[in-house]
Amino acid sequence: MKVLVAVKRVIDYNVKIRVKADNTGVETANVKMSMNPFDEIAVEEAIRMKEKGAATEIIAFSAGPAQCQETIRTALAMGADRGILVQTDVELQPLAVAKLLKAVVDKEQPGLVIVGKQAIDDDCNATGQMLAALLGWSIGTFANKLNVADGSVEVKREVDGGLENIKIKMPAVITTDLRLNEPRYASLPNIMKAKKKPIETLAPDALGVDVAPRLKTLKVEEPPKRKSGIKVKTVAELVEKLRNEAGVI
């Protein structure tokens, strides 16, 4: 069984982002970029499936500018076998990415697609669900634990009240939550080896997908700042402030 994983290049989770002065977006020039953390979990899960013999080949997919090659290389260094980059400088929104993924899925016929539940830049939490819809496949969102057996996947999901178990037919799309696994670091020998692994580059046109954004971003602004508070010295002072100043207890 082939497993397809999607990896997004995003501003590193440790970077404090800056809104551009002209309010057109967020500053990405000279900012450290990394693989979306939820996608690292997706790659790790696929590798574990391969190590257990449940998967035979792992394809790492990304879409975006040429630099997304680096993100695919990271997946290859972790253990993915080959990469596919759909290269475009157009701003990609979840529906467009889902359509690109569908075109690649139609070609590659994986048994499972694993993606992060959410990208930490646009925070949309939509691409995996959209892909499953376009394919007419089942979906296991917010996966906490997976068990692949007999043509289906048992998915333990993180939901509002705790955990939920579902069984979904394969082929299927899985979106990863934080507790699914702890992704490995790529070793130096594996980083060297990854440089020789193939990455195929495609254009959206070649896949017959219109990637034009559906949502127009009118402006991007700083959130309102909280005014700075005070330090209290004792518990008694804290309780007094909460009772009489804030009036919340």
């Binding site: 925070d123 499953a132 979906i139 969102t141 917010f142 509002d160 705790g162 127009k216 959130p223 909460l242």
Partner: protein
């Protein structure tokens, strides 16, 4: 055209956040309908009909809807959608699961987790863990929008909408429900609690979280946690407050032993009053706190619990 709100429910009542979703929906169109799909959802449909601002409730009975599987609910919503200008869901684990599937089947974008309705086609939504606010405009014919419940105040009063029975769409046969492991608690639900007490890695163990339970019970508060505390196994996943967990905005948020990573702040910085208790006076949580107390939480928590007792 009317706006369709898709309501999650437990069979007896719709979730509290449905009223918040309705409050958002009334800003999008002249009339709001609520879809209650389920198996024996009559009581839930009645609770939806009582939400002020709702003009009509559509009740769809089908065994396939019993457990809110996206593969089975989405086709029903898609079938109804052409009669509506918007499909709205609360951005909780049900809405996040179903709404994008609906959007893709309709070939439209989803506006995820809107916090403000500027006009029927324009919305404000947080990006980068709430460190930037994007105003986005949708040109799609039907707009699929998930809304952050804490940003839309539910209207008070009683509504009395008509309930109309509609046909179900059956099962897609792709997925089945196999049970849930839900956290049992007498405490208020995290996202609707007036007060939230949250613990972080500073608590050092699940056992020590009991101290927070005592404090939370004194205050009538919900109990939350940072990602670090959940990852360390101190508390279950549904306690997590943050960018990818729950977003809360109570009157009082007490962060104890939480350093305040931006991912955590994303889930609580809209709280009215924030208290931070941490031994590290440089901890970033103090930058958003109205009241900060530097010290050993193992001394402070019992002292605070006792002080709250003697009102």
């Amino acid at each position: 055209m009317a706006v369709l709100v898709v309501a999650a429910h437990d069979g007896k009542t719709v979730r509290a956040n449905v009223a918040n979703a309705v409050a958002a929906a009334v800003q999008m169109g002249p009339e709001v309908h609520v879809l209650v799909a389920g198996s024996n959802a009559g009581e839930a449909a009645k609770s939806a009909a009582a939400i002020p601002g709702v003009a009509k409730v559509l009740q769809a009975e089908d065994a396939a809807y019993a457990n809110w599987l996206a593969e089975d609910i989405a086709p029903l919503v898609v079938k109804l959608a052409p009669n509506y200008s918007h499909v709205v869901m609360a951005a909780d684990s049900v809405g996040k699961n179903i709404a994008p599937r609906v959007a893709a089947l309709l070939d439209v974008a989803q506006v995820s987790e809107a916090i403000r309705v500027v006009s029927p086609d324009t919305f404000v939504r947080p990006i980068y863990a709430g460190n930037a606010m994007a105003t986005v405009q949708s040109a799609d014919k039907i707009k699929v929008v998930t809304v952050r419940p804490t940003n839309f105040k539910a209207a008070t009063g009683d509504g009395s909408a008509a309930i109309e029975q509609i046909a179900g769409t059956g099962s897609a046969g792709l997925s089945s429900f196999a049970g849930a492991e839900l956290s049992k608690s007498e405490r208020p639900e995290l996202t609707s609690a007036k007060i939230v007490v949250s613990g972080g890695r500073g608590l050092q163990s699940g056992e020590n979280f009991k101290m927070l339970e005592t404090l939370a019970d004194k205050l009538g508060a919900g109990l939350g946690a940072s990602r670090a505390a959940v990852d360390a196994g101190y508390v279950p996943n549904d306690y997590q407050v943050g960018q990818t967990g729950k977003v809360v905005a109570p009157d009082l948020y007490i962060a104890i032993g939480i350093s305040g990573a931006i991912q955590h702040l994303a889930g609580m910085k809209d709280s009215k009053t924030i208290v931070a208790i941490n031994k590290d006076e440089e901890a970033p949580i103090f930058q958003v706190a109205d009241y900060g107390l530097v010290g050993d939480l193992f001394q402070i928590i019992p002292e605070l619990t006792a002080a709250i007792e003697k009102k």
